[in-house]
């Protein structure tokens, strides 16, 4: 009797774990839809970013489905996106990506937020050979791992130093000394070190370098030291709360470099909203802005995307949102070019992408990074972001000194 009960129990467990998923797989295979998956930080510290990404993906999905869906080898298929919340914890993102692939059987993954999470998820998509289009990752160390199924939409970080230093050299009198301060975190540190190295090579004097911890609540000490060194340029790298606090305290302590360059801060609408006048003439860099002269057939121009976004959220869109919508477009065009949902063929089609979009040109280099795109320098002028570099896209004169 007992043994039979045990066997029954085992059989039930086996059925529940394998049988049910098997059934799911069957029903999934019959549906005439293209299934995308995205693990996003919808709660936790990165929730704002995650929701922006989701909104970006949704703008694309709604538009495609309104037009009947994606044309897969002559058959129109609607798009479905399965979202999972990784609660701003990278290890969870990895697990959920695996679940999206094995349980939900998605055809393609849209990226999580940031370089760190993208790197972890890419290891999974590579193992299962599922294409991953990452809209918000730009650090080279993610893309030089030889991953074949990972594609990044942002221009490589390496573009930034040259643009930035070129702008400095155009100024009269030319700034000579730079102080660097960065949050000790993956992306800010990578960007700062890159610019610092290039600046040294190009003859600038580096008067100070320091790192501050995350959740920093007081920046007065290093700001006081920087004030004593009186550099022409101060670069502060970190995330929104860091750059917000640094700008506030720099004002209070009377730290007045000729150029204040912060990454990332003024890219976000909340930065200018919170700081108002104190944000004026701060220089920053980003991968996209609605003032840029980009155009494509799906959304229209960068400004058109701005209009769509404003109508929904009453806020200026930033590159995170735009890149996410663009990720959908790239996936759609590649599936249409491949004419099938076969993952290997879709991957090859993505690799051959050569598109003009509202987000800018998309073309992948050897590392599968979007080498055709640019990193643009913005300056906050009277509360508005103006494009001041590189020269090819600038639409306003850089105000110097600050």
């Amino acid at each position: 009797m007992r043994r039979r009960n045990l066997l029954f129990l085992i059989a039930t467990v086996l059925f529940v774990t394998f049988g049910v998923t098997g059934l799911q797989g069957l029903s999934g295979a019959q549906a005439a839809e293209v299934k995308f998956g995205a693990a996003l930080p919808l709660t936790g510290p990165l929730a704002t970013e995650g929701k922006k990404q989701q909104a970006g993906y949704e703008i694309w999905r709604e538009r495609v489905n309104k037009a009947g869906g994606i044309n897969v080898g002559g058959k129109k298929m609607k798009v479905k996106i399965v979202y999972y919340d990784y609660e701003s914890k990278t290890p969870t993102a990895t697990k959920l990506a695996e679940r999206l692939i094995t349980k939900e059987k998605v055809d393609l993954l849209l990226g999580p937020f940031g370089s760190g999470a993208t790197k972890s998820v890419a290891a999974i998509t590579e193992r299962y050979q599922v294409p991953l289009i990452a809209p918000v990752a730009s650090s080279e160390p993610i893309f030089d791992q030889g991953y074949k199924y990972l594609f990044g939409l942002l221009a490589p970080n390496a573009y930034l130093p040259n643009n930035f230093l070129a702008l400095l050299k155009e100024q009269k009198p030319m700034p000579k000394t730079i102080a660097f301060v960065t949050r000790n975190d993956f992306f800010p540190r990578a960007v700062t070190r890159m610019i610092r190295k290039a600046a040294k090579k190009q003859g600038f004097t580096d008067v100070y370098y320091a790192e501050f911890p995350k959740d920093s609540k007081d920046m007065s000490t290093w700001l006081t030291i920087v004030k004593g060194k009186n550099p022409d340029v101060l670069m502060v790298a970190g995330y929104l709360p860091d750059t917000l606090l640094a700008t506030k305290q720099a004002n209070e302590l009377g730290v007045k470099p000729k150029i204040l360059f912060t990454m990332v801060g003024p890219v976000y609408a909340q930065f200018t909203e919170s700081l108002k006048g104190a944000a004026n003439n701060i220089l920053t860099a980003a991968w996209w802005g609605e003032a840029l002269d980009y155009k494509g057939d799906f959304i229209g121009s960068a400004r058109d995307f701005g209009k769509i976004w404003r109508a929904k959220f009453k806020q200026e869109p930033d590159y995170v949102a735009a890149a996410s919508t663009a990720a959908g477009i790239v996936a759609q065009k590649a599936i249409e070019a491949a004419g099938t949902l076969d993952k290997k063929k879709v991957r090859d089609a993505i690799a051959n992408t050569n598109l003009k979009t509202f987000f800018g040109p998309v073309k992948f280099d050897k590392l599968n990074m979007n080498a055709a795109s640019a990193i643009v320098l913005f300056q906050v002028q009277d509360g508005k972001r103006k494009t001041v570099g590189p020269k090819s896209v600038a639409n306003a004169k850089f105000r110097y000194p600050r």
Binding site: E211, P213, D218, M219, I225, P241, K248, E252, S274, A278
Partner: protein
């Protein structure tokens, strides 16, 4: 000159820290509750100030009473309705309950306020007073002065009013206080309310000097914890001393060891104090 400026920065920061920790120390000392909600009340107080400034243009320093009164009421109700049920249970229970409430409130705050970082920027924000080559940031000085004034008022309240004395009596000897006719339930609720109001006031001040978001509550909570442990629990001077010590240690630590270790210094200090004088520098035995 750099030293003098950093000394000033440290004292101003220490004043804010002290203000942040006072309410936490009070609740912990009197009720033996590790109040995880402390950072949450602080965050909510910050949002009261932020929204009043953003929607109605109310000066952040004028909205202090509003944020204090609303959070006093919220704290009173939370204590009477929920925390009171476990006040006799082991300390672990109070941790679980307040932690659960904290999760709930923070999630709701993200839902309603979004996870964006916000900061109040009145017109006089960047203004600083020059003094012999040093800059004294006006906003920080105001925060410091207000923090000290409010803490003094609390100090006076605890020593010179009937309710204050009842709170102290309850802390010292629960049973005797009860025998003397102190309504313990009411005293607990008032204490918790005062703790919440103190947290909210400091949150209002923080929203001007720093940036707030629904998830920044934990950072301030951990600061409160360090300050109380360093200074000693249950008395207001302990929180003041702990705040100033932490402010000085963080800033001078950053100067000599680099800004990267600024946050770590607080924890090193915490461990040192626990080794040398577990009741805190100004704490009395029996409160650890």
């Amino acid at each position: 000159m750099v030293y003098a400026q950093i000394l000033i920065n440290s004292i101003l920061l220490g004043g804010i820290y002290a203000c942040i920790a006072v309410g936490f120390s009070l609740v912990w000392g009197v009720m033996n509750i590790l109040n995880i909600m402390h950072g949450t009340f602080l965050m909510l107080g910050g949002y009261v100030t932020f929204w009043m400034f953003k929607l109605y243009g109310v000066d952040p320093f004028l909205s202090l009473p509003v944020s204090a009164v609303t959070m006093f009421c919220a704290g009173y109700v939370v204590q009477r309705g929920l925390i009171n049920k476990i006040v006799r249970a082991p300390m672990f229970m109070s941790l679980i309950l307040t932690f659960g409430l904290q999760l709930l409130v923070v999630r709701l705050a993200i839902y309603f306020f979004t996870g964006d970082f916000r900061s109040v920027q009145p017109s006089y924000a960047g203004f600083s007073i020059p003094l012999m080559g040093l800059s004294i940031p006006f906003v920080r000085v105001s925060i410091f002065v207000l923090g000290v004034v409010l803490t003094s008022i609390l100090f006076w309240f605890m020593g010179h009013t009937r309710t204050g004395r009842a709170i102290r009596a309850t802390r010292m000897d629960l049973d005797s206080a009860q025998l003397m006719g102190v309504d313990i339930g009411r005293i607990y609720a008032i204490t918790y309310g005062i703790g919440a109001a103190a947290a909210a006031t400091s949150g209002s001040l923080v929203s001007v000097g720093f940036a707030i978001s629904p998830v920044s509550d934990v950072e301030f909570l951990s600061k409160s914890f360090i300050i109380c442990t360093i200074g000693g629990l249950g008395n207001i001077t302990g929180a003041l001393a702990g705040g100033l010590i932490l402010g000085l240690a963080e800033n001078f630590g950053a100067l000599y060891l680099g800004p990267g270790l600024q946050n770590a210094i607080g924890y090193v200090l915490l461990i040192l104090v626990l080794f040398i004088k577990p009741s805190g520098l100004l704490g009395r035995k029996g409160f650890e």
